[in-house]
Assembly symmetry: C2
Homo-oligomer: 319 residues x 2
């Protein structure tokens, strides 16, 4: 019988899952809504039922051998989700302990960026790499640091919060309560904030002057930039400048071989990567110059979070 792991990605709106073979092939993808459940127990029951129902047609050919879960503010050591700002469950949720009632299998949980890093290591472009970093550029900026072949979880299981290093003292307000955090500049939402700063400070014409803050998306800005909109181009330059600058600081910590960029914002391609690499090289310490690659993730965007979560399960089974 062939083996698969179950990967679960818990997002603010949807919870996605998939059954994934050791090589990274998904034999099935499904989802339920994350919101609208009475409590965490009933959410887990709905999720487990849907997974079991979906697995029925595979159970003659496949054996489910482990469960990996990616969740915001996920704690690897404790299997908990703690104070996640975008989920209905605000306190410390003992997710793994509770979910084991439904699946009596090896089970591990971590945050989404760490899961992405493990996905990169098991199925993606980091196979065989010992020291690398994965940066997820979505609404926020997530990070997974890999040192000596292992994800850095730190003393308490919460390491890898690079999105919250400080870029500018007393800078932009961040969802975490501090000011000036990296993710308020270099992320999809940071890019949008920068557009609005430029619309305020510059008098250049821009099609983005017709779009409200709430309506504006990173894709809209990328499209405008590709068509030569100067405000959009400048916004990408600033976003990339800060991204390269602070990634150089991360290199000063762990000296990775490669930095993988992942998530919606990377679809902008060279508009993002080129100025990021330039600023990165300008800010690196001499010993690190011209030897660290910044490249797109080797995982497919569509189900990468589920892949990452399933990779965590494979990684645990290796232990």
């Amino acid at each position: 019988m062939k083996e698969v792991t179950l990967g679960i990605d818990i997002g603010g709106t949807f919870t996605k899952f998939g059954f994934i073979e050791r090589g990274g092939e998904a034999i099935f993808d499904g989802s339920i809504t994350t919101t609208g459940h009475k409590d965490i127990a009933s959410y887990q029951k709905t999720l487990a039922d849907e997974i079991k129902r979906s697995f029925k047609k595979f159970e003659k050919e496949y054996k489910l051998v482990g469960v990996g879960i990616g969740a915001p503010n996920g704690n690897y050591y404790k299997g908990t989700i703690e104070f996640a700002p975008n989920l209905d469950w605000k306190e410390v949720v003992p997710f793994v302990d509770m979910f084991k009632k439904h699946f009596d299998l090896p089970m591990a949980l971590t945050n989404d960026a760490n899961a992405a890093a493990i996905g990169e290591m098991i199925y993606g472009s980091a196979v065989g790499m010992k020291d690398f970093v994965v940066i997820t550029l979505g609404t926020g900026l997530g990070s997974g640091l890999v040192v000596n072949g292992e994800v850095v979880y730190g003393h308490d299981g919460f390491a890898g919060e690079v999105g919250h290093v400080q870029v500018y003292e007393n800078g932009r307000m961040c969802g975490c309560g501090n000011r000036g955090c990296f993710e308020t500049y270099s992320s999809a939402s940071g890019l949008r904030r920068t557009v609005f700063e430029l619309l305020c400070n510059e008098t250049l014409p821009s099609r983005l002057r017709d779009v409200s803050f709430n309506d504006m998306t990173a894709k809209m800005i990328a499209d405008a930039a590709k068509e030569g909109d100067e405000i959009a181009i400048k916004a990408f330059e600033i976003t990339a400048h800060i991204l390269g600058m602070k990634l150089a600081d991360t290199v000063a910590h762990t000296s990775p071989e490669t930095i993988f960029l992942f998530g919606g914002l990377t679809n902008a391609g060279d508009i993002l990567f080129k100025p990021t690499r330039e600023s990165f090289e300008n800010n690196l310490l001499k010993v690190f110059k011209n030897k660290i690659k910044i490249v797109p993730s080797g995982l497919q965007e569509t189900n990468a979070a589920v892949l990452g979560a399933s990779a965590l399960a494979w990684k645990e089974l290796e232990k």
Copy 2:
């Protein structure tokens, strides 16, 4: 027969060495000058001769089992010293390969801050700790990051250069060639630069107005602060403010249990530690608040660098 390792600390002026027991007891300390030798080979010959001569009187009772070397810009993987700005040998020196001609023993080399971290782990206050950081506050700011019980060397052996993360874009010129580096603010020399900034910007009287830049030491500033000199007190506050702020960024990377501060500047005591801890807590992400200690190193200053180097040798022998 009892066992000792040989610890060697290569500084810009002196090279110190010692024979150290497993518990951290030094049975002998010696030194030679680092400068004034014809070349690296003749320097190594002089050093080896002095070590062998010194060991003569111990050889009936003790066996030398390994050699650890701490050196600026030391590369652990390759055993090289590379482009060290303060040494006579400017290029890539294959130190370990060459020194093995004199001592046919297990031998390892790393930079001084990594050696200090291993010293803390083997003999100091970090015994049994898995995740911690050592920051050396001397002329510059060095760092040794320990993750999961191992020093982070990174892909190329140069990880842990936290002294060169950027505090302010286009800030103070650093010896590394970049601007705004952490060590240009939070170190003995950074403290002095801050005093001069304050002497320029403020009109407060200060005894430090009678001292030239070259004559001013960190100890002088600490003494003035203890006696109520407002410029000196403010300089410590700024140094500590930036120290706490950027150490919070390091926590966002590796989430350590404890940060050990080490080196001359820490002799200032509460004048440094109190505002550092305050700024640190203010800048931490919520999940890290009120759980990470900032404490003085548990190693004795006098021979800590030699202890650290010898600890590296013990650590290698455990492998």
